[in-house]
Amino acid sequence: MIFLDNASTTKPSKDCINISGFYQTERFFNPSAPYHPSVVAAEDLSHFRDTIIKKLKGNGKIVFTSSGTESDNFALFCSKKRNGSRIIVSQSEHPAVATCANELKNRGFDVVFCPVDASGRVIEEEFLQLLSKDVSLVSIMHVNNETGAQNDVKRLCALTKNFDSNILFHSDGVQALGKVPVALDDLGVDFYSMSAHKIHGLRGVGALFIKNGLHLRTFLYGGGQEFNVRSSTENLAGIAAFSCAVDYAINHQKENYEKVKDLNGYLRTALSEQGDAYKIISDPGGSPYILNFAMRYVRGEVMVHSLEKYEIFVGTGSACSSKKTDRTVAKFANLSPEYEKGVLRVSFDENTSKDDVDYFINKLNLEYLAIEKYMRG
């Protein structure tokens, strides 16, 4: 099997599975109970929290959630915002942010979507135009989930704070964590969303970083866990695996980045050799983990299914229907009609090999030729 859809999820690592197994079978205790094994579990939880925050060089706290989506919802809905104030989000945000923004618009906020370039990257000049005294919150993703486009969050955040230090800055870091350098203090963000299963952790675990001195309204009421803002019995097994995944990903970030960058470049070259058949959407300056391109005449979804028979799995980077025409990539990538339904997303992990890429490109070309002749015109 060649799994090239790592932006959707990754295979959990053995270490993550082992440690979560330990917390599911041996140290399964509820960290909130008063007896000794629970006290130990609570200490472990605190240790995992510290590990992650240290690895990410953040001056603040981590609240564990159930997913990246939940972290985004938490940040957008529970951050302090003046009624009717302006909220800036980018045009290429993941639905976890974009749909929250739409809901906030329904609730009376002045939500504005900052234009992005053809790779999905926020255009700085446009962003500056949108900053005003009315802005209370900015949410701009670190790495785009469809194209890998990387926003200069540090710069955008600094520009925002220079304009008005009271504006809160959130960034969805789900596709950035462990893949590109993430130092939260250096980025300067107030809130940062993360997810465990994109870095070989388990599904059902996410986190929101909250900078020191900031407070969020309570998101889930209940027993008071997670600093009283997000009640629920802690998913200690998942959190242990998350901590383990962060530890690995940050320790190997540089070497994995270089490796994947080579693969990305290799695939880029191979795709370019096919002339007009493929149009590369991803910007070379983005995260190398994602390479997005569009095929001429052939629908992305059809190619996904065609490659299935070789046990090659890639993404379309969008919902699975041709009837759903509001695909984000198609919106900003300025694709001509022959290409607009043909978007494919290849996403690597550090275990992807050059042989995998060769096999993929070989089968892609083969299937493309077989289908394209029926789809032309």
């Binding site: 629908r299 979804e301 059809v302 190619m303 996904v304 299914h305 065609s306 299935e308 699975c320 229907s321 041709s322 009837k323 759903k324 289908i371 029926y374």
Partner: protein, 386 residues
Amino acid sequence: MERIILIRIGEIFLKGNNKNFFVSLLKDNAKNALKGIPCRFVSSQNRMYVERYEDSDERTIIDRLTKVFGLYNLSPAIKLPTDFTEIAKVCSDMSPKNGTFRVTVNRADKKLDKNSMEISREIGAYMLRKESGLTVNLHQFDFEVNVDIRENGFSYVFYEKIPCAGGLPVGCGGNGMLLLSGGIDSPVAAYLMAKRGVKIYAVHYHSFPFTSEMAKNKVIKLAQIVSDYCGEIELFVVPFTDIQYAIKENCPIEYMITIMRRFMMRIAERLAEQYKCGAIITGESLGQVASQTMESINVTNSVVKKPVFRPLIGSDKSDIIEIARKINTFETSILPYEDCCTVFLPKNPVIKPKIELAEEMEQKLDVNGLIEQALSGVEIIHCNNR
């Protein structure tokens, strides 16, 4: 004393010599509907009873039985030995404590020394003595207590008659081969023909990789939902991509859908012969799309000899949607997956195709070879909800 469900079967079709055939079919269908629920199914005279079930299963049992074609109505009831004092006590305990009521007794056991009027009066009197908030009103009542005294020494007390699906028992009307697309119409067509007693087989044309595994699963799901009414459906999934390629390569694009549908009809008829189906069933509704104009239907119909049943031919889309909602297929039908007809959809499909032209175009195709090839790849899926 126990809770049971009393089922009445439609009488209209019970006339004549076929009665035993109908009743035994109906009994089997009703029994099948209750598969997986621990209970006892009893049939006597023109009635059936479900007994010895867990109280928590009662809603499920009722829900399933109301979908069995041929059943008329049913009543959840209390079964107890025929003893008037006991019956009166149960009636009193079970009834509301206020309001107007009447007692209706049906006495099948003619050996008893009291007639039904006398028994009603006694029960009513007992209830009035027990609860001061009750008054009798035979014509305008808040609730009716029904007491059914049977010859087997047992009586049944019930309050409501829940209507069932009506129609004829599935299987008594022969077998039909349905073209099941995944849209809104074809599951409704299945429902309507099953209501007339037709056992449904279904064929679905699958165009992998153009249509996805999810689209196929959606069709299976639809067949499962409809099987609540039709009983288990054998679904034939026919690989259709090569036929579409051949048409695309050799025939004018505006006839794409017309010729595709002619292949679908031919393959459906082949399967119909194999599975002893007397008719082909489609969800076509006149004029709904280009392939459902009278001219198109003539051209697609002309390749088969078996009758084609089109129960929706005169229905408006809104009427069809209403039934789809009622039988719970609508939400699944509108899931947005590609179906094989939309893959190579021409911009301007022919609205008034001609048989001679279609035949001429098909000269370029190895029609029989393509059909054989498709049939050799058929996947058979048994769809039911049990």
